[in-house]
């Protein structure tokens, strides 16, 4: 298959993949407490459906989706709701959010599952609802509610290509790779479900070319499956080839227009872990209560890929990997490139957690003192979306947000390539995240003041209308009075005529 390339990027960044992947996926035990931040997907936080003291089963919905862009959350083991309160959750801000805690009872009882042996018997709408109700979000790290991406029923997208993202371009992360090695059958079935739902003619499963074994395994699985619509493709290992936009460019040579989604150009791109979750939900009736996560880094004794219940505290995952080492320096959610630091290991595993990296001092990327920017342009030459980070940095630092926006700040995918390339060790992406949030706050403020202005104008208009109505009423009253008996009329005329005479 013909491949294209995207501009920039960092070659040969696929390091430390073997730290965690040679051993089989291990199932992590159910912890005594599970914690569910209600904000673990893009969009509105879920709304709790349970009260403290209530007994729940595995797979029971404990919080429902709030609106269009949102997702429900399910208990991942049986037990009693012990607490609903603000707790720390994995987020770059380091803030807390409303969370539901479950004290597990060790029985791990499940709700009854509605399995569907043949998904082709179901309508598209039924399938979309299954994905929605299973609480499935993008498991590659973005956590965007998946049902929206595949709801071909409510849109008139003309989807021709389904892309399955198996390119884990960040160093260390290997959870998708081990999933593809061990559960290729399920993933393949998941791809067929998606092809059926989207009406796409072909599916391309992309993996990086360093994963030779996985490629051989998938090729064999697919040839056994005998479905010619599905193709497995090896792509060059260039970070960030696993980014949605870069993967689409690599496989099709097309760009997703700024501000648009891939479906607008007939493409849907889904992470393989998400495909597995969709297959489990449709075929086995299992909602999303666990995921595969890579626990790795020099700071952990035995790096592993774990299948863990969502809500498990990270400290428990570290225990399964035989604890921290002496070098443990920083706890990072996600990979070394795009991940963010966690302040505590009591923070739970959420749907988006694909990796827990316990980094040693040497592994922490930006530990060097930042020096002045000399405009060397290394950042621009590695930027996969052709931005000029050196100019964005200049404008972001001086809070010239309009100027930064005019250099397309909002098109930055925050891949961190520029941070790595910068010879002055400037944490560029940090500056861009800050400027982006400032821009968004500005837009929000503008929106609010616009709303306030509209309200004010509406109020003024209402007052003016009321006034006019009152004037109209009193005019009518007067008119009505005028048409009354003549005597009154005479009286007033007399009164009027007497005034001038009194003045004289």
């Amino acid at each position: 298959m013909k491949l294209w390339s995207f501009k920039g990027g960092l070659p040969a960044l696929a390091e430390h993949k073997n730290d965690s992947s040679p051993v089989a996926i291990e199932t992590a035990p159910v912890p005594s407490t599970l914690v569910y931040p209600l904000r673990q997907h893009i969009g509105n936080p879920a709304k709790p459906l349970v009260a403290v003291g209530e007994h729940v089963l595995r797979g029971q919905k404990i919080a429902e989706a709030d609106g269009f862009v949102s997702a429900p959350i399910h208990a991942s083991s049986s037990g009693v709701i012990s607490d609903i309160s603000e707790q720390l959750f994995p987020h770059p801000s380091g803030l807390s959010c409303q969370s539901i805690s479950i004290k597990t009872d060790g029985l791990d009882q499940e709700v009854e599952a509605h399995s569907h042996a043949d998904f082709r018997q179901l309508s598209i709408l039924e399938l979309v609802n299954i994905v929605h109700d299973a609480g499935i979000v993008g498991l590659g790290g973005a956590a965007f509610p998946s049902y929206i991406k595949i709801d071909n029923h409510s849109h008139d997208w003309n989807i021709h290509t389904l892309i399955l993202n198996g390119a884990e371009c960040e160093p260390y992360i290997s959870c998708d790779n081990s999933l593809l090695m061990e559960r290729a059958q399920c993933v393949t079935e998941g791809i067929e479900i998606l092809l059926h739902m989207l009406g796409a003619k072909k599916a391309i499963l992309a993996i990086e070319d360093h994963a030779e074994l996985t490629f051989a395994h998938l090729t064999k699985t697919l040839s056994d499956h005998n479905n010619e619509a599905i193709q497995v493709v090896q792509i060059p290992t260039i970070y960030p080839t696993g980014g949605e936009k870069q993967l689409i460019q690599t496989l099709t040579g097309r760009e997703v227009p700024s501000g648009k989604i891939p479906a607008n150009i007939g493409i849907v791109c889904i992470n393989v872990g998400t495909v597995y979750a969709i297959q489990q939900a449709v075929v086995k009736g299992k909602v999303l209560t666990s995921r595969v996560v890579t626990v790795t880094g020099d700071g952990v004794s035995t790096p592993k890929n774990l299948e863990a219940r969502i809500g498990t505290p990270i400290s428990q995952l570290i225990d399964v990997c035989h604890g921290y080492t002496q070098q443990a320096e920083r706890l990072i959610a996600g990979g070394p490139m795009m991940g963010f630091a966690l302040s505590s290991d009591e923070i739970p595993l959420i749907k988006a957690s694909n990796c827990v990296l316990v980094a040693s001092k040497e592994e922490v990327v930006t530990h060097k003192q930042a020096m002045p920017c000399i405009r060397c342009g290394e950042c621009a030459s590695v930027c996969p979306v052709s931005l000029l980070p050196q100019q964005l940095y200049w404008h972001s630092r001086s809070d010239q947000l309009d100027k930064a926006a005019s250099f397309n700040l909002l098109d930055c995918i925050e891949c961190g390539s520029c941070d790595i390339a910068c010879p002055s060790h400037i944490p560029l992406v940090q500056h861009f995240r800050y400027a982006k949030s400032m821009l968004k706050a500005q837009q929000h403020e503008k929106q609010q003041s616009d709303t306030a202005r509209i309200r004010f104008e509406a109020r003024e208009a209402r007052i003016a209308r009321d006034k006019a109505e009152r004037a109209e009423k009193s005019r009518k009253k007067k008119a009505a009075l005028k048409s009354k008996p003549v005597k009154d009329d005479v009286d007033t005329t007399v009164a009027k005529t007497t005034i001038p005479s009194s003045e004289t």
């Binding site: 501009k7 997703v256 020096m371 002045p372 405009r375 996969p384 000029l388 397309n408 098109d411």
Partner: protein
């Protein structure tokens, strides 16, 4: 920066070999003054001194200025130049990364405007000085005040001459042909005697920087192409009154400017397209100044003028961003 220093070695050595110890004194005074001025300014501004000095940027600035100065100069010329470069052009604008103008070139321009007499005294290449020049002579020329009608002045008169670029310009104005001008002994087989080898040494250093990916090709190619295209055009039209492209490329500061001065990332354009345009226009301006301007060499003024144009170039040469029209 370390590679820039290494790449300047062949050019510096050739220049000392061709033009004598005056160049060495320039280098010593410029570099030591630049480093001391940098340390002083860093101390005043409360910045870390040793880590910043270790980026070698002050050293490179000092060396570049030294290599642009006349081959023999009284000590205060390199001294004042280095002060202007580091204190005024660099630190008063905010230090490394914030200076809009190339420090070495601003210093050169200030010196040539302020001290035209001292800045136009160029020692002849060693091969053209019959008795040679002893280190003692150089020391006295650099460190003693020189007044008219003294033995020092006559020593100086005996060993200096206008540069080939200067001679070419003044004598073409006297209606001589290029061939007649080049009959003078200051001209060599390719360009100026001595100068041609220095230019070739800079070229080798520049190619090393390109190979090491310390600089990108757009700026040097732009400068050399701009200069080459202009001189080629006029040379083809009027070979008697326009010196050859080879003469232009191998004379004065063309090679030093193209590979080492215009490529200063802080003051150059930062986009790929922009860098080429930046270089090309430096080449064009250099040719214009050399041919019709008031100075025989135009690299410094061309670089400064184009430094001013950098924000404009950067604004209009932004690459198309992914997903944008």
């Amino acid at each position: 920066m370390l590679w820039v220093l290494i790449a300047l070695v062949p050019g510096s050595v050739t220049m000392i070999w061709q033009f004598g110890y005056g160049v060495l004194f320039n280098i010593i005074i410029c570099v030591s003054t630049a480093i001391m001025a940098e340390a002083l300014m860093l101390a005043c501004r409360g910045r870390p001194i040793i880590p910043t000095l270790m980026d070698f940027s002050a050293l490179v600035t000092g060396l570049l200025l030294a290599l642009a100065l006349p081959t023999i100069a009284p000590w205060w010329i390199p001294f004042i130049g280095a002060i202007i470069a580091i204190i005024i052009t660099k630190h008063l604008y905010g230090g490394l990364g914030y200076n809009p103008f190339n420090p070495a070139m601003i210093a050169f321009a200030v010196l040539i405007v302020s001290f035209p007499k001292s800045m136009t005294v160029w020692v002849l290449p060693a091969s053209l000085i019959p008795d040679g020049l002893s280190i003692a002579d150089v020391v006295s020329l650099v460190f003693s005040p020189i007044s008219d009608n003294t033995p020092l002045q006559s020593l100086l008169d005996g060993i200096t001459a206008a540069t080939p670029l200067d001679q070419m310009k003044t004598q073409l104005n006297l209606n001589l042909t290029v061939q007649e001008v080049q009959a003078n002994h200051v001209f060599g087989s390719l360009a100026g005697e001595g100068w041609q080898w220095v230019a070739i040494a800079y070229f080798i250093g520049g190619i090393t920087l390109l190979a090491k990916r310390v600089i990108s090709w757009q700026i040097p190619l732009g400068v050399l192409l701009g200069l080459f295209a202009c001189s080629m055009l006029t040379y083809l039209l009027e070979p008697s009154s326009a010196p050859s492209p080879l003469f232009h490329l191998l004379s004065g500061g063309a090679m030093l400017g193209a590979f080492f001065i215009a490529t200063d990332p802080v003051t150059a354009s930062t986009t790929v397209k922009g860098r080429f345009i930046f270089g090309l226009l430096i080449g064009l301006l250099t040719y214009i100044i050399r041919t019709w301007g008031g100075y025989p060499e135009g690299i410094a003024f061309a670089v400064i003028l184009m430094n001013m144009a950098v924000p404009l170039i950067d604004q209009y040469t932004q690459p198309r961003v992914y997903g944008q029209k």
